[in-house]
């Protein structure tokens, strides 16, 4: 098992390296001078020169690349051209917001997926099944930001039930930050009003992202459960007198879970893309918003850092998915 995990980690490194390299050279080759962007077009040339030197932009590109790789290995991801703080510090400060959003969205998507998918499979061809399939087709064609805006319109503007932006109301941040996940921190601090406020703010963004992603899960759960429901061990379990609930959840769904998990891993990239749009739609202070903001400032190290960070996030999740798969399926485990 240990070697298995180790191999998976080693396999993830080239992917991160390739993304890093592509983005590094794309940023360097393409037009757009970051120093000019920072200082404005009227900055005196000697100031620009000094700034370029300070940021290492006057070195040959290969040296710059080497420096950047070094900074990734050191773990500081370089220094932001805009704030002067190490990029990793900024990313770590933004990351919990993104993590909280993606975890909640994923949970919502998985719940909807398992519920509709399993029942759709079980009632194959009947009304509920058709409803689930129509749902997954149409929701999938929604642009995530449009769906978010619609929810803002309905639940924020028309009904006044939920806040439409931000992660919390003013002065409603947990007193002590342990994890950066406000839900967990407010529970640890026993600050119930903060917890309620946090959840209030979480509902719309995570429902937006979760619902859009859920359409894939409905489809995948449905087709995999149909597959396992038609397998011999399900018939055999029924022949033993197993209760229908057990047959569906213990045999059919659990066996369908391994492929579903694999898909979850693959979909995670899609979820992250959606997360960036969702964060911008709801002014959610995560890495997505960070990336989009820093683009306006041409903050190269920050943009690069965010991209590499996303690549690592994707890689880590796919490793976790493989481990979970091994845990679920004894044939992989041994």
């Amino acid at each position: 098992m240990k070697t298995y995990i180790l191999t998976r980690i080693l396999l993830a490194i080239p992917m991160i390296l390739i993304i890093l390299t592509i983005i590094f050279f794309v940023l360097r080759i393409l037009p757009g001078n970051p120093v000019m962007a920072l200082l404005g077009p009227k900055a005196p040339p000697e100031v620009v020169k000094a700034m370029e030197h300070q940021m290492g932009l006057d070195k040959p590109i290969i040296v710059q690349y080497g420096d950047y790789l070094g900074s990734i290995l050191k773990g500081d991801f370089g220094v932001s051209a805009y704030t002067g703080v190490t990029v990793i510090q900024e990313l770590m400060q933004k990351f919990p917001a993104t993590l909280e959003l993606t975890i909640f969205a994923m949970t919502i998507a998985v719940f909807i997926g398992i519920f509709f998918g399993t029942y759709g499979a079980y009632h194959f061809g009947r009304t509920l099944d058709i409803a689930a399939r129509v749902y997954s087709i149409f929701v999938y064609s929604f642009p995530v930001f449009w769906f978010g805006i619609m929810l803002q319109l309905i639940f924020g503007v028309w009904l006044h039930w939920l806040p439409v932006s931000g992660r919390s109301s003013p002065f409603m941040i947990p007193n002590h930050i342990y994890t950066g996940l406000y839900v967990i921190d407010s529970i640890l601090n026993l600050e119930w009003p903060v917890l309620v406020d946090t959840l209030y703010h979480l509902i719309l963004p995570s429902v937006t992202l979760g619902v859009v992603i859920s359409s894939i899960f409905v489809r995948m759960v449905r087709s995999n459960v149909i597959l396992s429901l038609s397998s011999q061990y399900v018939v055999a379990a029924r022949a033993r007198g197993a209760k229908e609930k057990k047959v569906i959840f213990k045999h059919a769904l659990k066996n369908a879970m391994a492929p579903i998990l694999t898909i979850m891993g693959l979909e995670f990239a899609l979820l992250l893309g959606g997360a960036v749009l969702t964060e911008v739609t709801f002014s959610w202070p995560g890495i997505g918003s960070y990336l989009v903001t820093r683009i306006t400032y041409r903050d190269f190290p920050a943009i690069q850092g965010a991209i590499v960070f996303f690549a690592m996030f994707v890689a880590i999740v796919s490793i976790l998915v493989d481990i979970a798969n091994a845990w679920l399926d004894p044939r992989v485990r041994y």
Partner: protein, 298 residues
């Protein structure tokens, strides 16, 4: 364990998912789906071509008081600058289709030959290129496009290029996997044994075989490109205003959401959804027509 997600066209494609869902839902009457898709598509294409003739007002000049709600004369209302939303709805199809088609063409133009040559060559080149393509493929496409679009700056070609980068691996993967299968088929071996040149083999034997799936991937890919373009322009990385663009209009509309000016956000979104649905349904129909055996697997 069975894996039902392995279709030939990469399971990350928006349009293949929507389309396949439709086809399964429709069963035998999937011809209806293709037909609806075709109608939706033609509608948008006609809208784009004849925009100057059918749009009631100019999309870039005030045509009434700002922020009028939908009413006679402005059936979709007006924007904060008094632009007619309906006219922008019509003109927006131009940008959406234009960028999607250019982006898809660039991606195909790079991805297909690379897939052909690398798949045919095999060996170390194959392994290295495939690893690079796979890395890009597994990375969140939109985020990559955001980064590249941000660096390139606004403009039709720039946006198209940044979208294209995301989809090159899709073409590459489809073509490469087919080429490596066809390459070892008997008739290709035969052609090689009688001394046919590599280029002849690729052009005469391999290309015609991969062409049908290429066409399907092309038509499927456009829906994805439409969606990505909308995302980029929503983030302000698209065509600079006041060029009519649905994604940008949505972002603008969101600023006036709190005043309950819903018409600025509802209609551009519907346009995107309809166009994406149209392409997906049409592409799936094409797939069924060109590759009839694939549908039987499910």
């Amino acid at each position: 364990m069975a894996n039902t997600t392995n279709t030939n066209y990469g399971n990350q494609m928006l349009s293949s998912r929507i389309g396949r869902g439709f086809r399964q839902l429709m069963g035998d009457s999937s011809g209806v789906m293709t037909f609806i898709g075709l109608i939706l598509l033609s509608l948008f294409v006609l809208m784009a071509i004849f925009a100057p003739y059918i749009s009631p007002y100019s999309p870039v000049e005030p045509s009434g008081a700002p922020l009028l709600s939908p009413q006679w004369g402005h059936i979709m209302g007006t924007t904060n600058l008094g632009y007619d939303v309906f006219s922008r709805f019509i003109w927006g199809s131009r940008m959406a289709l234009l960028i999607a088609v250019i982006a898809t063409s660039i991606a195909a133009f790079i991805g297909i030959p690379t897939g052909l040559l690398v798949g045919y060559a095999g060996g170390v080149t194959d392994r290295i290129v495939t690893m690079i393509m796979d890395s890009v493929y597994t990375f969140p496409g939109l985020i990559l496009a955001i980064a590249i679009a941000a660096m390139l700056g606004p403009g039709v070609l720039n946006i198209s290029l940044s979208i294209a980068v995301v989809y090159i691996p899709t073409y590459y993967r489809v073509i490469r996997s087919q080429v490596s299968t066809i390459k070892s088929e008997l008739y290709v071996e035969g052609a090689r044994s009688i001394g046919a040149k590599n280029m002849t083999i690729i052009g005469k034997y391999i290309l015609p075989n991969v062409l049908p799936s290429t066409i399907v991937v092309l038509s499927m890919n456009i829906a994805d490109a439409v969606m990505t373009e909308a995302g980029l322009s929503f983030l302000g990385l698209g065509i600079p205003p006041p060029v009519p663009d649905w994604g940008y209009d949505l972002a603008k509309g969101q600023q006036f959401l709190l005043q309950n000016d819903w018409w600025m956000v509802v209609f551009p979104g519907i346009a995107i959804i309809l166009l994406v649905l149209g392409f997906s349904m049409f592409a799936e129909g094409m797939d069924e027509y060109l590759n009839p055996n694939i549908g039987e697997k499910r």
